[in-house]
Amino acid sequence: MAIHKSELNTAAVEVESISKRFGEAGRPNRLMPWRKVKKPKLALDQVSLHVETGRITGILGANGSGKSTLIRILATLLTPDEGSASVFGYDVVSQADAVRRHINRVSVEASFFKEMSPWENMLYAGRLYGSGGDGTRDRVEAMLERLGLPLDTLDKPMKQLSRGQQQKVAIARSFLTSPSLLLMDEPTTGLDPRSKREVQELVRSIRRDRAATVLLCTHDLQEAEVLCDRVVVIDQGRVLADGTPTELIRMHAGKTDGSLEDAFMALTGKRLEEDEEEKEE
């Protein structure tokens, strides 16, 4: 849904000192008291963030750094334990309905009804966001064509599509609802280089053509460097740095010809590639 003029002057996302733990500390199971109480995991620790409208902001962090938790809180799928978060001025907990009208999300897993076709999945998504009537099929076809997806895949079951094709449908699904804020959680993970470039070009076009705000969680340093106006480095649930890619490199890379990877290593003490390798193992 398009944002109102009054909302244009508001920050797209405002996060104030939010914390989130998983596992309830000190609360033994009353029904089964012999069960061990799990140690709570601190996923976000006093995170604050300000995202300007119409920008692409990258959240850069390793696995388990809290990126997805942050995205889920903004998507109204999780509630923070402490602090507050708002989207275009609407609180994600108390005004969740208003927030949902402005957002959509692309997650790392393309989540679909696997037996249903891309068209049936898109039609369902459209219905939940107020469209789905005449002209929807044409819009879906145009969008998928733009993403380089053959139109003969439109009526095949999703399970017959490749991972890259499924992810393109997921992106098209989020565009179909014309969100003012698009939450993208590692949207290009697992895509081949060509698909990755097509998706990245599309992300740029959203900002250019629709003045939408994009919050992009990524592992991909090169992607963050070329795509994001601003990058927030997050590790173990804490924000370590926040600035343009150039600023981060200048302030943290430790050398004049450094890269975002150097800056990330200096800030977190780890390489994202190592993290990826661990994940694959």
Partner: protein
């Protein structure tokens, strides 16, 4: 609710019915297997009744034809009620399994629209599937329904929809509370309803606490009323007490179940239980 909001919610409501229709169509082979399973279950009950005479129960001791009708109506109605109950109760489990649950919960629609949309699709599908089985049963057992009062049966059937929705929504809360165990708990609830609701026997044969539970189950009044109208031509006026009880139960159960669903949703969001992995 303004006109625009109503249109928005109605559009989403249609979306859920459309989605379920597409899923039934895409999973047609599995649906055919379930249909066969339901048909076989109902036929087994029919033949059980037909075989009572060979188990020492002679003609005259009981009206075997009436017994057969009693059991067949119970089996058919249970097929319908359990299917609708199952479809509503497993709406959350199903979406978690597909991995779409977060997308549905993130959509800008009322939870009531979501639950009613899934429920409406289940009711329509349940009716279609039970009708197919019913036709097979009538043809195979040459059931005499000449005394049936169809209008009364339909009125009770319609009134039973509300409490059935309430029970289904209540049970669909279980997978929200526990992603791992919720599904099994829903099966247990279904089993208890079968025991206490007089599907194959009058609830008067149940011991005290179970009898009391049977009185509180809306399915008891549904089965009782429809049986009476199909087998003994119960008039609409005569069915009014049952219809009244069912409507009252519905008026209590539906809002209460939606309220508790919302509470469970809030809890799931606090504990991070909406994810596919739980």
């Amino acid at each position: 609710m303004t006109g625009n909001t109503l249109r928005w919610e109605l559009n989403a409501f249609v979306g859920f019915i459309e989605r379920q229709k597409n899923l039934y169509r895409r999973y047609w082979a599995w649906e055919a297997v379930w249909l066969l399973y339901n048909l076989v279950s109902v036929l087994s009950i029919g033949y059980l009744a037909a075989g009572l005479s060979t188990l020492g129960l002679e003609q005259g001791q009981a009206n075997l034809h009436q017994t057969q009708l009693y059991l067949l109506v119970g089996a058919l109605l249970w097929t319908y009620l359990s299917l609708v109950f199952f479809e509503i109760a497993f709406a959350i489990t199903w979406e978690r399994w597909e991995g779409t649950i977060e997308y549905t919960f993130m959509a800008p629609i009322k939870r009531l629209t979501h639950l009613l949309g899934v429920s409406a699709a289940s009711l329509l599908y349940g009716m279609a599937r039970t009708a197919i089985i019913g036709i097979g049963v009538v043809l195979l057992f040459r059931i005499d329904l000449s005394h049936a009062n169809w209008l009364t049966a339909l009125a009770i059937f319609a009134a039973a929809t509300l409490p059935l929705l309430g029970l289904g929504i209540f049970t669909s809360i279980l997978p929200l509370l526990s992603p791992e165990k919720g599904e099994q708990m829903a099966f247990a609830v279904q089993g208890v309803l079968l025991l206490i609701s007089g599907v194959y026997y009058p609830i008067t044969v149940l011991p005290g606490p179970l009898h009391l539970a049977g009185i509180l189950s809306p399915l008891t009044y549904t089965l009782d009323g429809i049986r009476e109208s199909l087998l003994h031509g119960l008039s609409l006026a005569g069915a009014l007490p049952d219809i009244g009880i069912l409507l009252l139960m519905g008026v209590i159960l539906v809002p209460a179940s939606v309220y508790f669903f919302r509470r469970a949703e809030i809890r799931a969001k606090r504990l991070g239980l909406l994810k596919r992995s739980g």
